[in-house]
Symmetry: C3
Subunit: 209 residues, 3 copies
């Protein structure tokens, strides 16, 4: 993994862990819950991907710098909650950087195991957004990634770009870098321009099925 991906990967772990820990605090969880939610948000997507690809124990549980970074970020969020809640906007952009790094590294990992396009796109996307889905499930909420904003879609497109570049012969490092830049750019634009995916409006009273 080249230096750009390494740096952005750590940016992502920190940003994701903070988002998980802040949700835990808002939900009234205790210190353990805050750290667990930070941890799973930052590392859950990679763990799910490793399990699906048959890589065990999952790298996120054994390569110590990743979990230690996530746990430290969770602890810092617990202590400096007020500070972090005042920098929501920078955090959203840091989160976008993580989205790009995670989807590129997930797509790269999947491609190293199988050249199946769907697998590459799915594993790239799950690596990027799986942690956030687990965070929302543990917080007893509908995963936000399924309901609004252009977020997972950026990871899907970025992962697809990775596959296409490899398919036409570009090497891993360049494809991953390009994929990451695409995902981050799309997500930045989505934040700026408030992109939303279409929605099916139904005028039923019953919201619960």
């Amino acid at each position: 993994m080249n230096i750009a991906l390494t740096v952005t990967n750590y940016v992502g772990i920190v940003a994701f862990a903070i988002s998980g820990s802040m949700k835990a605090i808002r939900k009234g969880m205790d210190l353990l819950g805050v750290i667990v939610l930070g941890f799973t948000t930052a590392l859950g997507g990679g763990i799910i991907s490793d399990v699906m690809l048959g890589i065990y124990p999952p790298v996120n549980l054994t390569y110590l710098p990743y979990p230690l970074t996530a746990i430290s970020a969770g602890l810092a969020t617990f202590i400096f909650y007020r500070v972090f809640s005042n920098v929501g906007k920078p955090l959203m952009y840091a989160d976008a950087v993580g989205l790009g790094a995670f989807s590129a590294s997930g797509a790269s990992l999947a491609y190293s195991i199988s050249h199946n396009p769907l697998l590459v796109v799915l594993v790239g996307s799950i690596t990027a957004v799986g942690g956030g889905v687990v965070r929302d499930l543990l917080a007893n909420e509908v995963p936000v990634v399924l309901t609004r904003e252009f977020y997972a879609s950026a990871a899907i497109l970025g992962s697809l770009v990775y596959f296409l570049l490899r398919f036409i012969g570009v090497n891993d490092a360049s494809s991953a870098l390009a994929s990451m830049i695409i995902t981050i750019t799309l997500r930045f634009m989505a934040l700026r321009l408030k992109w939303e995916l279409p929605r099916r409006i139904i005028n039923e009273d019953a919201v619960k099925a």
Copy 2:
């Protein structure tokens, strides 16, 4: 897999995907959420079973016809929601066909790996109902399969029939077909006769523990 199982399997993928996508629409999810919920409802059970049996990457992520069918059904539900919501009854019977096909193929897969009766019954049932459980979790609801109707029970009994037939020497194809017919028949009867499992009535005020 013989022709009957192949056809019913696709019926199941389509019916399950529609049920997931309709729930997503009713929950106000966006296009991505609708497709993801359709996808996980149709293919989630098989993915969980593959992970438990050590088959990776899971077949449902790599054998393209399955995911493409599920994604297409989700997209169709998004576009033709009104049409689909008027054919609730036929959809429930199509869903029952899928229940039978999925439990038979799950039981058959488990048996090919281990002759443990519990494993065969559990994997058959999880293949059949696991996707629906994930659907309900993502929609932030108690899984309907745990609360009412005779649904998972049909899959459990069908999977058990598969095991017993293999145990007395019947071959895979015939056992799977018989298992599927049993599950579908039980589910059809349950729909017709409104079967419910017993429930423990408690007169406590506290419903939440």
Copy 3:
């Protein structure tokens, strides 16, 4: 596994299954839901650990005495709900015994695969509390382990003790026994003295993020 661990392990399966089944009954689930929730509470943590460590099919699905014990306990809870709901306190202590047995056996299993300290602590803890987390997710609640009491923390510390003892050369059986005693003692003290982890109080109106 020595005799002490075997006995406490069964105590844990029964206590965990009862806690899951009682929650299912309180949530109005039917007989199947009651048995499934008992089963997953008792055996879910071990299944998740096995999947993470690449042990498949998971032992809890194939070694019949474990699932049969869990299913029997669930069934007994369904029938004798009123009796069990009057012995809440003894059940909490039986649950603590299970917590100790499960975390010790999880830590021991992880250590047999990798000497990574984080992995040992995580797998020990997940084996102990993972089933309860799945129980709460299926019941559509925030996992109680993330919000209050000194519960997972006892399992984390007990798993850490296991690792440290192995690290200084103590054998598996003695380390597991000591780990279990530490976890149980901590949990008993937590129950007696009503220990709670610190919590970050925020005076925001928004509880939902």
